[in-house]
Subunit: 391 residues, 2 copies
């Protein structure tokens, strides 16, 4: 055996290199179909443009500067991030307008935000006067200006103040601090994004929008204009664009369309397609002749989030008609033939299987890079630079 110096020089090869066939990607790996991805970006931007609503896509879904720049190149006014630390690699990649669509607490986070605000136009949400005071102190310290949105709860029951009176109090608190600028309201109802039935989702969106509109009107009566009303998501974008309340939308998952969003019923426009896959490899078929035919793939809980269900097996014609991913262990996935398909449908040892993740946001957060493919060839590798930046 050689010295540890020689071991230190060992490097893990990238999962893929440009020009390789997609079938040669080392697995597990995140794979992005660029043709579908670009079509998703264009459809969303065109829909926003037609409605005269600004698009500020959510980078929490992709955590990837190359994707943010592709969104901005098509007309997005900037991006959202959900955490302050998440914004750092986007600022470094040249994104100049970032909204933190979330409250923050603690001096470390306010200080980082104020530092970032020296390099980019930054804004953040508040739902408590103590957050306002902490932001004002940090901005004064850093010599920067921070935009502030009052978040209102329009039915999710998570963050945000409950009514126009509380919102107005916060507007006055923001206006009392010179380094802070009141920018408007954030109104987001995450729960309704995943209401499956089209008509029920439409009703939920209308209800949420009417709650937001009531607060906007009450503030206007008190002499406070909301320059921006920001919110909305990939599941409700059709309704949000048409509702007349939002001046700016924050969808994230439309870029990839995960298994969860794929289970929604859609009727109107815009429509999006699955562009993101996990490439896995069949690494054991020893049980295939046994009582329960199955194969084992090398992608489990460390390669996908399962909070919104197990991944779907994907084939050349879309979702596999014969194979189901039925169980995830830490590093293993069990794939079985669907009832009626039989053991003959099972793939060979060493075969590559593509999977559609159930939930894209936390799945992206597991990978350091995305392998981009165009047709059946690897086009390049994009770093998921904000992976793990949850502070």
């Amino acid at each position: 055996m050689t010295t540890s110096l020689a071991a230190a020089a060992l490097r893990l090869a990238p999962a893929a290199a440009a020009g390789q066939p997609a079938g040669a990607i080392d697995t597990p790996a995140l794979v992005l179909d660029l043709d579908v991805f670009e079509r998703n970006l264009e459809r969303m931007q065109q829909a926003a443009d037609r409605a005269g609503v600004k698009l500020r896509p959510h980078a929490k879904a992709h955590k990837t500067p190359a994707i943010a720049l592709a969104q901005i190149a098509r007309g997005a006014v900037g991006i959202c991030c959900q955490k302050v630390s998440e914004a750092l690699p986007f600022v470094q990649a040249g994104v100049t307008d970032i909204h933190i669509s979330n409250e923050i607490a603690g001096p470390a986070k306010a200080a980082l935000l104020a530092r970032l605000a020296r390099h980019a136009r930054m804004s953040v949400c508040v739902d408590d006067a103590r957050q306002v005071a902490e932001l004002a102190a940090a901005a004064a310290q850093a010599g920067s200006a921070i935009g502030v949105f009052v978040e209102i709860d329009i039915g999710q029951g998570r963050c945000g103040v409950a009514d126009a009176g509380a919102a107005l109090d916060l507007v006055r608190a923001i206006q009392a601090h010179a380094p802070l600028a009141f920018r408007g309201l954030q109104a987001y109802q995450g729960g309704m994004q995943h209401v499956r039935e089209y008509a029920a989702r439409k009703r939920a969106a209308a209800e949420a929008a009417s709650r937001a509109a009531a607060v906007v009107a009450a503030l206007a009566e008190a002499g406070v204009a909301c320059e921006t009303v920001t919110g909305g998501g990939s599941g409700s974008v059709e309704f949000d664009l048409a509702g007349g309340v939002y001046t700016e939308l924050q969808p994230g998952s439309y870029v990839f369309m995960d298994g969860d969003y794929g289970r929604n019923e859609y009727r109107g426009e815009p429509r999006f397609a699955h562009s993101l896959f996990i490439a896995s490899t069949v690494m054991s078929v020893a049980g295939a002749d046994g009582a329960a035919p199955r194969v084992v793939v090398d992608a489990g809980l460390k390669s996908m989030a399962v909070d919104s269900g197990l991944p779907q097996v994907w084939g050349p014609q879309g979702r596999s008609a014969t194979l189901d991913y039925v169980a995830a262990n830490d590093e293993h996935g069990i794939v079985e033939p669907r009832a009626g398909a039989g053991a003959a449908a099972l793939p060979e040892l060493g075969s590559q299987l593509l999977l559609v993740p159930g939930h894209c946001d936390p799945t992206l957060n597991l990978y350091d890079d995305i392998v981009c493919i165009r047709g059946q060839a690897v086009a390049g590798v994009w770093p998921v630079a904000a992976r793990g930046l949850s502070r």
Copy 2:
């Protein structure tokens, strides 16, 4: 605004630095209580020593070279990894004996394993003759020697051959290749680790051990000695140590004891305690005066795995008697007072809350480092160097 050059120089501060109070850790962060952790390590090593069984702890649980070295310093013979790429940072940190407790498929993985085998004593599992051929070719190419275990299925229904005849065929295949050395059997029953009731788990362990013993005996009859029988886990270690079949145990989670293992009923020895926590911060209390009292913390699906349940809120006296973590969104957690506790039990905006993750292995895989505390002070930060290495 300043230049992008200045933005490029921005760095995210570490979550904590040695000497700081634990309450000042920037969140979300993984926190390890070193006193409890060291006690867990010592209890396991002493139990193995008493039984005369070798301990080869599983590094898939911690992915942290500093922890592997602490295990080896106490007497562990080496470590297990579950993926070949996972082993790389351990080899680089000076671990010289690593078993890949899993099958691999594909030339990239075999080639990396063969390269690692030039720097450390490496072994891997097989359950198919094609894997043997791939390993032999890679070892010959790299000029290294690879130890090979035949994995047998003792009831999990995942990887491994079903019977002694198939095992013997694989032993013969291994013995036909000079760069490969047959080392013994791997026999692991993951499912029984999480059987809650003590007596039922004991029965399951006995059943699994008797299946393993039967294969060992059949191979011996055919003239094949198993130098090592490796397997076992944190939930069955008491039975595995006493069963007389395993020469080497592979427990991983005992280091941390996650929420899932904490729900098992234990009666015998050794016992382990929760040493691993997620530090979170209350970042919104806007809803606390509303109909359903709750606060929102900054740790959600990107800061913990929820496949084995939501985290438990932890207090100075152990599991909180008044607070429950009831829902995880991507970057938010909802914490409610337990029935009877009332809104007065809710923590203030900006408070730190410790959480016990439901499942340690995939939770570790989300973090780049672990903040170590001793008592109420930060003792240091350990890189989770194998995070994300799932290939």
